[in-house]
Symmetry: C2
Subunit: 232 residues, 2 copies
């Protein structure tokens, strides 16, 4: 693949490292390794998007950060090879997220003359948006382990894999909590380019990678079990 058009979907109160882990991996690919990538930061408006607070006054001012200037709104995103969906406190607000869920659904089936996105990639509770958008129906997936019961109960047509740093199911990649986004994106880089490329990127960011998708201690830590799809 010579050029990759990447979309980063940003909703209010996203998790900073859910966004930054995969973006760092792709930045290193672009800057240090000369791969040609195009980033589109896609949000509801072109105003800066903040990672918090979700309810003004309930968090300390530390969360009151203004991050990332969007380049595109949900209405004018281009055709994408890869859409990245982070999680975070704002991922639980289904009604507020409705336009984002419609966007995910559209991107996956193709719309406005665009072909379907090549890959869909979620980090942490970003999988909740994918589940609500219906794009995990009939698929295998994982998510962060500290909100396992809540998130898996919102995706009743999905086989949720507990002991997984990431899960691939067709072109949908879901990763576990926060830092799993780094490991998952390195695995995607290995899949698209080569394992050697992924190793070099990992070494550049001095990341002690989980190299196997089931190299995940957190399912045991949080006592999570696989959840099978509801049938009948």
């Amino acid at each position: 693949m010579t050029e990759l058009t990447v979309g980063l979907l940003l909703f209010p109160t996203f998790e900073v490292l859910d966004m930054a882990g995969p973006i760092e991996v792709l930045n290193v690919l672009s800057i240090y390794m000369g791969k040609s990538l195009q980033l589109h930061v896609i949000a509801a408006t072109l105003d800066p998007v903040s990672p918090g607070p979700i309810e003004p006054g309930t968090s300390s001012s530390f969360a009151g950060q203004q991050l990332y200037m969007p380049t595109n709104t949900l209405d004018n995103a281009p055709a994408l090879d890869l859409l990245i969906v982070p999680g975070g406190p704002g991922s639980g607000n289904k009604e507020a997220l409705r336009p984002f869920l419609d966007f995910i659904q559209n991107v996956c089936k193709g719309y406005k003359g665009h072909p379907p996105a090549g890959y869909l990639f979620s980090v942490c509770s970003g999988s909740l948006l994918l589940a609500w958008a219906g794009v995990l129906d009939g698929k295998r997936a994982t998510t962060n382990k500290s909100f396992w019961d809540f998130i898996t109960s919102n995706g009743p047509k999905t086989h949720w894999v507990a002991k997984a740093r990431w899960v691939t199911s067709g072109n949908v990649w879901t990763t576990s909590g926060v830092t799993a986004g780094i490991d998952g994106m390195l695995a995607l880089v290995s899949s698209i380019w080569s394992e050697d490329t992924a190793e070099k990127v990992g070494a550049t960011i001095e990341h002690n990678r989980a190299k196997a998708s089931d190299d995940d201690p957190w399912a045991t830590h949080y006592g999570c079990q696989d959840v099978l799809p509801v049938t009948g």
Copy 2:
């Protein structure tokens, strides 16, 4: 400590994950664990700061991101308990960084009636800024391993420790490449609050921590050796 005033120093073409690793740790402390923190994003102007490209036209457009709206300029930063200095491609441009180096020097000795910062914390090649500012003179430090020779040669009065995920020397914390900032900030949290607090934050972000400061495979990977200060 009941409240921590944190400064994040952002220069053009910083490394995204150098910034986001420590900020994520502190966000989780703030949002999920109720610690009272204040963040000030300090830059040359109040315009958004971009992680790249350092030389327009030399990088792909993937690096053309606008990140973080600064809250303060170098001239009006408040007294800080902790100053975070990321690295990245822009950290090598000594002349352009002069105002930032002066700022680091001032923050460390106290200025404008402010007491000296409680802690100084660098990630990756952020240690190069600390070295140029003179605040690593007579101290032990580490930095990223892929630019080891260049960075250590710019800090001739410093004992550079190769096999280190992070190094503490007085109130100065330096960490290794990129993802080491996550481990180092968790260690600082352990030091300020408690190991239990650091463990809970690490589990929330599902991070497979390096718990010991010398738990670093990258010195061997890159063939780095300790560099002693030049005497005489």
